[in-house]
């Protein structure tokens, strides 16, 4: 059914969760009508009842395309990321980073950008479900009340709460109250991307739970061993810090990335090596021993040549106090301990590596006191308890363990032994359907809450719109689960901070509250995060052999290869998908269609293999293989995708796909890697597992946005080799990236002069890590339609900015290159358009006149950058929710017209209007394109090239500046800054 249609909800509910409603009593009908009106009013929903504060002081770098900004907080992996929500006449339509918030600093990642689509997703859960039938909140509340009465008697034995990662003081306070009411009740926490080994190691090293965050802006040397520094909760901040460090004068900081599958770190690394997790551990151990870490013992195998090891260690010593060694989730606890100890040994703790006591995030010390007592247990513990029949009532809050947990754990099966299960979530997902009760959760942009960031800076979550589909706040949910006051989320949150700021009087509180809302961050009155000191290292540190991971993952998969190519065993590494993360955003069409950074797959996941491994087994792209785990038997069929620069003998399985109940968009896309994920010796979800691979002989086609990934000797994405160069100041003479300036090129025609403004852009290839944030930001800003798998497979994707990827032979320096319309001054597209539908405006923009275009597509043929996109069918959506979240300043294109990057012309004209109102010229930074605003590394710079002092002019002055295909004399306004190769950084060559 078309869920936008309110009537269809009333008449014939066809959605599974609304099936078979027996003759409805009057009250339910009213409920539906309420829901229906909520849906019908999706387009014109009013702001929430409570007063919310517009973001008044707009920062320089953020040009509003739209009237009202609200500062709020979104959560990535449970941690707060400050954002500004752009609302157009009450409708949130775009998300920008919040410059004041440390986790954002004005930038965002793709997932955060795409959150706006989740908000408007009409397939989100809408009604309370009881046994899969429409019910009502009051029924749920009554049922719970009865149940909890029963539990009061036994003090909450058999009462369990399962949540995702939580960083909301208010929610934690509520959980604390709940536990104080039910002393025997237990709280479990589960997140598929949680680095369980790392947390365990931190507990061993520091004696308590730790949030580890980095200060890469201070770093001189970063070594990552499979740690994804640039994605997830701290990703944006880290990327920003590292890019900043590279820009600042002084020696260029170096980044060495040892990765299994190429990640964002690899894209920025001076040198990247593909490595199996076991090799990383060996390397880590070798470094530990070489650097004289007590009791690291002698080391047998070193995966890199001794010279390289020496070079690494000497650099680490030189970078004392400014180095970072980051171990990834696939490594063993022992390896993480070594990483901690190494950082400690090198004096990096407290300077570049900050272990923050998790409880130090609490707003008030009293709470912090009890917070120490409040330590969540694992999902494994819960599952065991369930199997043992100890669990009577299971409450699940914003978690989807039925899908997002290793099949080896058998959570779903264990659930059947629980009498009463209640689930609150955004979607009627797998877990919701397995539960007795399901309560729709309000989206983060729909209700009040609070959250602290990875580095423990708290901020308020304020709604930008009333719940579209009648969701409830987790705070209300928790209140319902504890006898006591029934408060609104707003009251809950204020209560928390009233307690926190109990010193201040009511006026002062209101003042601070307003400020907090306006700024989107609480920078005063919150306690400074406490940096833990490590406990003294125990005398004999264990060799990794005992550890489950090491045992399982020992060797690189080849050493015990039985020679039989078909059943040769590999190490499977389970990683969250770079787009849909753990699968929680599987129903997000933007993220599904967004090409995965390194595979360029859309609408699919694939088992990643290195070319060598694939060749050894005679496999080709798209071959479907059958992966079998030894113990317990689990089988998974997956198509393989060959990725240059992947570790040999390892197969990477992206998690989050193969959803059963994600929604019409995400259902049965790809394969479910959780089905094969196993547990380590300690029963924790393990990131690696030994598997056997057998080709099935079947093949599967992929929808790929890029097929050829070599530069074919063409100088498209260039590199300049400079010893210890500064980023902005160009390299010394001779190391010039571009040839002479286009102005000096001969031409039969007189040059066209551009008076006034002349817009231009630079993209710094030394900073781009291919995170795709710009692509989604552009899609949201410019109403770019989603075309679906089949159309992408036909080569008809619509993204205005595509992130090209080029590999070198060794796969050691993958290079991303954002490619959008270059706005050539001698635009080849314009000359061939028979109706003048594409032409130049007075400021040098290559503009596309949609309503004049007849669709000859000659312009695209003649565009050497192939940056143009065509509406082969009617791609734009007419759904109510689409209408609601589309940008009113940008035309929705109809069938048969060409479209492309416009340099966000709507933002330019908005800035012009503002400037004219203020009676001043447009200042540098007034116009910020969507891609520029989103970019975590500020790789993209936009501005007026006629103004010699603008940032873009300065960037173009760099000797790294060059134009792609400048020999065609198209004179692009978008130019690129060549990537920097630091010859001093190369580890002496050897097998990686």
């Amino acid at each position: 059914m078309n869920p936008d249609d309110a009537m269809s909800v009333v008449n014939g509910p066809a959605a599974p969760h609304t099936e078979g409603v027996a003759d409805p009593v009057r009250r339910r009908v009213l409920k539906w009508m309420a829901a229906s009106t909520a849906l019908a009013g999706a387009g014109c929903s009013q702001p929430p009842a409570e007063p919310i504060m517009p973001y008044v002081s707009m920062p320089e770098r953020l040009t509003p395309g739209q009237p009202v900004f609200y500062a709020t907080t979104l959560r990535r992996h449970g941690m707060g990321v400050g954002v500004l929500v752009v609302t157009e006449s009450g409708r949130p339509i775009k998300i920008e980073g919040n410059p004041r918030h440390p986790a954002s600093a004005g930038a965002t990642d793709a997932q955060t950008q795409a959150a706006i689509l989740d908000l408007w997703d009409h397939e989100r859960s809408r009604v309370v479900l009881h046994r899969g039938r429409i019910s009502a909140w009051s029924d749920f509340a009554q049922a719970m009340a009865l149940r909890l009465e029963a539990h009061k008697a036994d003090g909450g034995a058999g009462l369990r709460l399962l949540t995702g990662p939580i960083s909301s003081p208010t929610l934690l306070t509520q959980i604390r109250n709940w536990q104080s009411q039910f002393p025997l009740a237990r709280w479990h926490r589960h997140h598929p991307d949680a680095d369980v080994a790392g947390e365990e190691a931190a507990r061993q090293v520091f004696g308590s739970a730790v949030d580890c965050c980095y200060r890469l802006e201070r770093a001189a040397l970063v070594i990552t061993l499979g740690a994804e520094l640039f994605s997830g909760a701290g990703g944006v901040r880290n990327a920003q810090g590292f890019a900043a460090a590279r820009r600042t004068r002084g020696p260029r900081p170096r980044l060495y990335a040892f990765e299994t599958a190429a990640g964002f770190c690899g894209a920025l690394a001076d040198e990247r090596r593909a490595m199996a997790p076991a090799d990383m551990e060996a390397l880590l151990r070798a470094m530990a021993a070489k650097l004289g870490l007590p009791a690291a013992g002698d080391f047998s195998r070193v995966p890199i040549p001794p010279a390289a090891l020496n070079k690494l260690c000497s650099q680490l010593l030189r970078a004392r106090g400014a180095g970072v060694i980051a171990a990834g989730p696939a490594l063993s606890v022992q390896a993480h301990v070594w990483a901690w100890r190494l950082n400690e040994h090198l004096g990096n703790l407290g300077t570049t590596v900050l272990p923050l006591a998790r409880d130090s995030a609490w707003p008030d010390s009293g709470a912090a006191e009890s917070a120490r007592r409040l330590s969540p247990e694992s999902l494994a513990a819960l599952t065991h308890a369930m199997r043992a029949g100890e669990v009577k009532t299971l409450l699940m809050l914003d978690a989807n363990p039925v899908h997002e947990s290793p099949a080896a754990l058998g959570f779903a099966a264990a659930m059947e032994s629980v009498e009463c299960t209640a689930h609150m979530g955004l979607y009627p997902d797998e877990t919701a359907r397995a539960c007795l009760w399901h309560v729709p959760m309000a989206h983060e942009l729909e209700d009040w809450s609070d959250a602290w960031s990875l580095d423990h800076v708290p901020s308020i979550v304020q709604p930008a719109i009333a719940p579209l589909y009648g969701g409830y706040s987790p705070h209300v949910f928790m209140d319902a689960l504890t006898s006591g006051a029934r408060r609104s989320a707003h009251e809950c949150v204020r209560a928390t901070w009233q307690a926190a700021w109990r010193g201040a009087g009511p006026e002062a509180f209101e003042q601070r509250w307003r400020t907090a809302l306006r700024r989107g961050v609480i920078d005063s009155g919150a306690p400074a995060p406490r940096i833990l000191a490590p406990l003294p290292a125990p005398a004999g540190m264990a060799a990794p052999a005992e550890d489950g991971v090491a045992v399982d993952g020992g060797g690189n998969g080849e050493d015990d290869n039985d020679g039989d190519g078909l059943a040769a065993s590999l190490i499977a590494v389970f990683a969250c998908d770079p787009n849909i993360d753990t699968g929680n955003q599987a129903n997000n069409a933007w993220l599904q269609e967004l090409p995965r950074p390194y595979t360029k797959l859309a609408w699919d996941n694939a088992a990643l293999l290195s070319p060598a491994t694939a060749a050894a087994r005679g496999l080709h792209d798209g071959d479907v293989v059958e992966l079998t785990a030894t113990s317990p038997d689990a089988v998974l069929r997956a198509p393989i995708c060959i990725v240059p620069g992947h570790a040999d003998g390892v197969i990477t399985l992206p998690l989050g796909y193969g959803r059963q109940h994600a929604g019409s968009t995400g259902n049965s896309v790809g394969f479910d890697a959780y089905a094969l994920q196993g547990l380590d010796a300690a029963g924790r979800p393990s990131r690696i597992r030994r598997v056997r691979m057998r080709p099935t002989g079947e093949r599967q086609g992929f929808a790929r946005s890029q097929h050829a990934m070599r530069q074919e000797g063409r100088e498209i994405a260039r590199t300049v080799a400079v010893q210890g160069m500064r980023a902005q100041a160009g390299p010394p003479d001779g190391a010039q990236a571009g040839t002479d300036a286009p102005r000096h090129r001969p031409s039969l025609y007189p040059d066209h002069r551009y008076e006034g403004y002349a817009w231009g852009m630079t993209v710094d290839l030394d900073a781009c890590m291919g995170c795709n944030a710009c692509a989604i930001a552009c899609q949201a800003e410019n109403n770019i339609p989603v075309v679906g798998r089949e159309q992408v497979a036909r080569g008809r994707e619509m993204h205005w900015i595509r992130i090209d990827l080029y590999h070198d032979e060794a796969g050691r320096r993958p290079q991303f290159q954002p490619m959008a319309c270059q706005h050539c001054e001698n635009a080849p597209c314009e000359v061939v358009c028979p109706v003048g539908a594409t032409m130049h405006d007075s400021e040098g923009l290559n503009v596309q006149v949609y309503n004049r275009c007849v669709g000859t597509r000659f312009c695209s043929n003649n565009c050497p950058y192939k940056a143009r996109r065509f509406n082969f069918f009617k791609y734009s959506s007419d759904s109510l929710s689409a209408k609601a979240h589309q940008n009113p300043d940008v035309t929705v294109r109809q069938r048969g017209v060409m479209e492309k990057c416009t340099y966000c012309v709507q933002r330019i004209s908005h800035a012009r209007i503002e400037a004219q109102k203020a009676g001043r010229p447009i200042a540098d930074g007034d116009v910020v394109t969507a891609c520029e605003a989103a970019c975590p590394t500020q790789a993209i710079v936009f501005g007026n090239v006629n103004d010699p002092n603008s940032r873009v002019s300065k960037a173009k002055a760099s000797a790294r500046n060059y134009a792609v295909l400048e020999e065609l004399n198209t004179r692009p306004r978008t130019t690129y800054l060549a990537r920097v190769a630091d010859p001093g950084s190369t580890l002496e060559d050897g097998h990686g």
Binding site: Y749, E830, G836, H840
Partner: protein
Amino acid sequence: MNSQYGTLGQFATPDALLQAIRQLRRESPAMQLEAYTPYAVEGLSAALGLKRNIVPAATLAGGVLGGLGGFLMQWYAAVVSYPVNIGGRPLNSWPMFIPAAFELAILGAALAAVASMLVANGLPRLYHPIFNAAHFNLATRDQYFLCIRADAAEHSFETISKKLMELGAHTVVEVRE
């Protein structure tokens, strides 16, 4: 009324017709002769002493008109009426205007040629007295006709038909309006 249009003699071969025409024009140049043949007989125009027709002149005019008009239209559109910066090219990028101008010149010339031919021939004219003559339908098959217009009274039908018979016409009929 029943006035006379002329006298029509029917010949079997083009040579006979040509002979007759030359003969008659030698004897009485004032005579108005009309020849009807199933195909363009070589030398016929010469024999009848036709002057150069207007078709070439008209064609030239049409061509010039089309070409110049076409070029000026493009210049006006691109420079005066709708000046836009196309790929940094100058507004009056005349080399790019040549193809369309050329085609328009050809078109103008061709139209002029056909139109002038039809107009000068007084076509279309669906009715013509000559069609009344017997056997004239063979004029488009294999018969060759010579029509002597009845101008003054001095030539009676009898004299002319006798004359035509002498010149080799195997049939002579009178054509009435």
